[in-house]
Amino acid sequence: MLTTYIKSIGQYFIMIYETFRRMTKTSELRRLIVQELNDLIVSSLGIVVFISFFIGAVIAIQTALNFSNPFVPKSLIGFAARQSIILEFAPTFVSIIMAGKVGSYITSSIGTMRVSEQIDALEVMGINSLNYLVFPKIVAMCMFPFVIAISMFVGIIGAYFAGVFGGFLSADEFLAGLQEDFIPFQVFYAFLKSFIFAFILATIPSFHGYYMRGGSLEVGHAATTSFVWTSVIIIFTNYFITQLLLS
């Protein structure tokens, strides 16, 4: 069991190394990157906006309902919403949602190519299949922090709507809370970790798809395993980065 894990970790790092070797023709690579940007980033915006708006709204309502002390300023609702959304919800939880959406897409698409011998076909042609399949995904996922920025913005809008139009606080109070004790480094921290999560989101599902064996049933199994491992590693990395940068 332990040997298998150690072997897999080694194989993962070899995969990363191979991904950056023997580059595919630039013209083809450009086309692949644009296609991956559409499949991985643009097509995820809808679900990210939807979830961010309503989670932002729920954060505001929950915070408001839990502040029963009249001496606690209502602006804290805006403050709590900002902190929760920027520090954790947008970068970490949106990444886990993306592990389900983007991760399973990556694993199943690469896994199906493995099962139907399309990866072998690339190799026979003398093409570095890892570079052809994984590198464009890594480049496209570099745009992931923009998705996180949109999630932060929409989440705060959701909190504003729920807080202000729900009658929990005034618009001025919300805006005051939003600006209270603002530390720009925390935004940097959020984007830094979303950038690292983007790399994890592109590579771990690719690893599970590329090295899978078997038929269509195993493709489904690989997609599930990939989601579990991507989530576990995102949560572990989140703890590690937070400890390193904020504590």
Partner: protein, 254 residues
């Protein structure tokens, strides 16, 4: 020409190839036959460079693959065309894009030249009006032809086919067999076909290698496979009643 000397390949404790010795001739259709599990696919994948053999020598045009530098290995793989059992066509690409793919990736042709070459090979495999169709929109036989077109578009020196007529009706299978043989003769290439199909053996078997338990048990051609006294080959080739009757009829001069 491809020469193979004492090729061995194992997967953990399972020894699949136990010392294959053979020679595939240029300008001929070379067939690898054998029962399931005899090591045919592993052998083919070793020839393609998809599996690294444990020991033994594979020579392409007189030079051992093991002695090639990395760039020479890439060059030799560019001279190979492969027809996979299931076609292995890229699902998201049209027929034209599939056939054009090796040219886009490996040649310096401009778009017009590539289109003209694609048209030429699609006509050669008798595929018309399918350029803009996706692989899922054409029949199995057509998919095999697209796969052949993609394999020959770069004018390879070596053509490998893994069960090219599996899953096809006898007439289409025969058309595919003849197409591969014609292409082999026209372009003077070394073609290696992995097959279970006895019709292919009797139709296009210019050089036949019978593998059993990972070793070469017999080598000959479609003419002398009728006459061989090798019991293992006879048991395999004449396993079906039809071929047994054909053999008896031939021996009795009917």
């Amino acid at each position: 020409m491809i020469k193979v000397k004492d090729l061995r390949k194992s997967f953990e404790d399972l020894e699949v190839l136990k010392g294959v010795d053979t020679e595939f001739e240029k300008g001929k259709t070379n067939l690898i036959i054998g029962q399931s599990g005899s090591g045919k696919t592993v052998f083919l994948k070793c020839l393609l460079g998809l599996f690294v053999p444990d020991s033994g020598i594979i020579e392409y045009n007189g030079r051992a693959y093991q002695n090639f530098s990395k760039s020479e290995k890439r060059d030799i793989s560019k001279q190979m065309g492969m027809v996979f059992q299931g076609g292995a066509l890229f699902d998201s690409m049209t027929v034209e894009e599939n056939v054009m793919f090796p040219l886009k990736m490996l040649s310096n042709m401009n778009l017009e030249q590539m289109k003209s070459r694609v048209e030429e090979v699609l006509n050669r495999v008798n595929l018309v009006n399918t350029n803009k169709k996706l692989p899922s929109e054409i029949s199995g036989g057509m998919q095999k032809r697209v796969s052949i077109a993609r394999a020959i578009v770069n004018k390879p020196a070596f053509l490998f086919c893994d069960e090219p007529n599996s899953g096809l009706d006898p007439r289409t299978a025969s058309v595919i067999d003849n197409l591969i043989q014609e292409i082999t003769h026209e372009n003077d290439i070394t073609t290696v076909i992995n097959t279970h199909d006895m019709n292919s053996v009797f139709e296009i078997g210019e050089n036949i290698i019978y593998l059993e338990n990972g070793v070469t048990a017999w080598q000959g051609n479609k003419d002398n496979i009728y006459k061989t006294d090798n019991q293992k080959v006879n048991d395999f080739v004449y396993a079906s009643n039809l071929f047994q009757k054909v053999r008896i009829a031939q021996r009795e001069g009917l």
